[in-house]
């Protein structure tokens, strides 16, 4: 009966969450305001659509990366994987063109190929990491080199181009949409919403956090740790496939420079969004905010020409650090 006295107010917890939660959002809002002040077209329909649509690739991948990182993993291979899948998809479609002819079916086959390739690539990473017990960093550094190399080889050092006719058929998938919202934005939104739901509302999401926090405990709690881990990589692989499906109609080609550094951008977005690199806690909506922050930085730098373009990278670096400082502003105690 007297315990009531001793427990007392857990008053600080909500406040603690607020700042952590608000951090990335504040950073995003600040960027939007800065952008709007600098250029009146910044908030125009065209610019907003551009920024959102081009965020979609990294964004879709980053949603998958959130799961991988939450479960204590890492994937450096996503950029190369995207390039490889894009190359493969183009080859498949070009190859089938004579037999299938131009049209929606061939595009669907290409999409299917991308998803299957993503699934396989994700499975390979997951399998090596989980079943062979090799550090995720090494496995995915290895596969990063492998996919990058393979796409260069497939393209014979040059560029793989989608047949011109096919490109016209496929083009709307990036450039058009419904109700004035372009497809990449729609797909990105759907992936993000689904990701958020899976992370928060399903056992899978919870298992990811548990495994990232302490895989031993998860194992003792009857969680099939290996399976969940592999699944995070497969999920990521499939999402890389989805991102590629959006990417190919944008440029209609793939080469060894496709998707370079996407992995770092995706990981940065995840962390800016508040997910912990060590695992144990993940936030999909935070990742979306992180992706938007990163895209906006690039966009805003193009709005003005105050600084030498040589220094763009420096400004990006400073803003990334500032965005995170904003978020972690309060000194954690103990």
């Amino acid at each position: 009966m007297s315990t009531a006295e001793t427990t007392s107010a857990p008053t600080q917890a909500p406040r603690k969450i607020n700042i952590q939660v608000l951090g990335p959002i504040i950073a995003l809002v600040v960027l939007v305001i800065v952008g709007a002040l600098m250029n009146s077209n910044f908030l125009s329909y065209a610019n907003v659509t551009n920024v959102l649509a081009r965020s979609a690739f990294i964004g879709i991948i980053a949603v998958g990366m959130t799961f991988v990182i939450t479960a204590g993993g890492l994937d450096l291979s996503v950029g190369s994987m995207a390039a490889f899948i894009a190359g493969l998809m183009i080859l498949v479609m070009n190859y089938l063109l004579p037999s299938m002819g131009n049209g929606v079916p061939i595009i669907l086959v290409g999409m299917l190929a991308a998803l299957v390739a993503g699934l396989a690539a994700g499975f390979l990473n997951g399998f090596l990491i989980t079943n062979m017990r090799i550090e995720a960093f090494i496995v995915t550094l290895g596969t990063m080199g492998i996919y990058r190399s393979l796409v260069t080889w497939l393209a014979d050092g040059g560029t793989l181009s989608l047949d011109f006719g096919l490109r016209q058929t496929y083009r709307p998938v990036y450039y058009e949409g419904i109700l004035g919202i372009s497809w990449p934005i729609i797909i990105f939104a759907l992936v993000a919403i689904a990701g958020e739901i899976v992370m928060r509302k399903t056992a899978f999401g919870r298992y990811c956090a548990a495994i990232g926090s302490n895989d031993q405990v998860a194992r003792y709690s009857s969680v099939d740790v290996g399976r969940v881990r592999i699944l995070t990589y497969i999920l990521l692989g499939v999402l890389v496939g989805v991102a590629t499906i959006m990417y190919v109609p944008r440029l209609g080609s793939a080469s060894s420079s496709t998707g370079v550094l996407w992995e770092l951008e995706a990981i940065a977005a995840v962390i800016i969004g508040g997910t912990m690199l060590k695992g144990g806690f993940g936030r999909v909506w935070g990742t979306v905010v992180g992706v938007l922050i990163l895209s906006l930085i690039g966009n805003i730098l193009n709005l003005t020409d105050f600084v030498s373009p040589y220094l763009n990278g420096a400004i990006q670096g400073v803003i990334i650090i500032l965005a995170v400082i904003l978020q972690r502003g309060r000194k954690a105690e103990g």
Partner: protein, 293 residues
């Protein structure tokens, strides 16, 4: 608003030649903004084709450009987006790498990569005996590199020159240094090296010098880096020649476009900037001491 905005989109300075091109672009922009107050420039550098497309989209959406000068990172991926821009009535100047579809651009200031390879190959064929053995360093695996190599191979065909091996030096000094060191370990006799780019030539020369090998008669670089041109000019036997591929072509393109915008008679058509063989005799004409490249 009576200012006209010209967008300039180029690849970032990831290797020497691109660095020189960046420098010339920046320099041209600064100079022209001074000369023509009614012109405003946006210069964006991109790390990959996708980023370059984004830059171009931004220029159209937020800066309302009237003209675009673009040096495509790669031809294929930029063809569609640049065509979009052209369709919106923006003047388009394409530099160096052509788009994969003809007739999009209003002005094309072209470099000639196949020609670059050919001139290099011809020099080799002329200056080496039959049966001579050479090694070659290639650039970053790209279409440009493929075209250069194809031109080169075509030119030495039938000359009896044997290409021992080609390996990617990625237009990078350090990488070519490493590759050349290993070539030297592997092949006891090398008569000449086609470095295909002056940055790579720097690495190659350092490796040869360090190994103290006497068998190599010369190293043929390319693109006309000022230090290399100077050494050719001074009669350095290791660097008897160079093949131009001037990074300043971007400045030409920007200038032509700017003039087109301010005057009533736009300059359109195609200007091909061919690759020229530079030797001790004509080196002085290609020596730009102020350029960073």
């Amino acid at each position: 608003q009576d200012t006209t905005v010209i967008g300039v989109s180029i690849p970032a300075a990831t290797h020497g030649w691109a660095g020189g091109m960046n420098f010339h672009a920046q320099e041209a922009v600064d100079r022209l903004e001074e000369v023509y107050p009614e012109l405003d420039f946006v210069l964006a550098t991109a790390g990959d084709p996708s980023e370059q497309v984004s830059d171009i989209e931004d220029m159209v959406a937020t800066r309302g450009i009237s003209a675009l000068v673009v040096l495509p990172f790669e031809s294929e991926p930029l063809t569609g987006p640049v065509a979009n821009v052209a369709n919106q009535g923006v003047w388009v100047t394409v530099v160096d790498r052509g788009l994969s579809q003809e007739g999009i651009e209003d002005l094309y200031v072209a470099g000639d990569n196949t020609g670059f390879g050919q001139v290099s190959g011809e020099y080799m064929a002329e200056n080496l005996d039959e049966g001579a053995q050479i090694v070659a360093l290639r650039g970053i695996p790209t279409t440009i590199d493929n075209e250069r190599v194809a031109g080169f191979e075509q030119a030495i065909e039938g000359s009896g020159i044997e290409v021992l091996e080609m390996e990617h030096g990625n237009w990078n000094r350090d990488d070519s240094f490493t590759v050349m060191q290993d070539f030297l370990s592997k092949y006891p006799q090398i008569d000449a090296v086609w470095a295909s780019d002056d940055d790579m030539a720097v690495g190659v020369l350092a490796a040869i010098e360090a190994a103290g090998r006497e068998d190599i008669q010369f190293v043929l670089g390319g693109a006309g880096m000022k230090e290399m041109i100077q050494r050719t000019m001074e009669g350095d036997e290791m660097i008897p020649a160079n093949v131009t591929y001037p990074p300043a072509m971007i400045a030409t393109a920007i200038e032509l476009t700017a003039v087109g915008m301010v005057s009533s008679a736009p300059v359109s058509g195609q200007f091909t900037i061919g690759s020229v063989l530079v030797t001790e005799e004509n080196a002085e004409d290609y020596y730009y001491p102020d350029s960073p490249f």
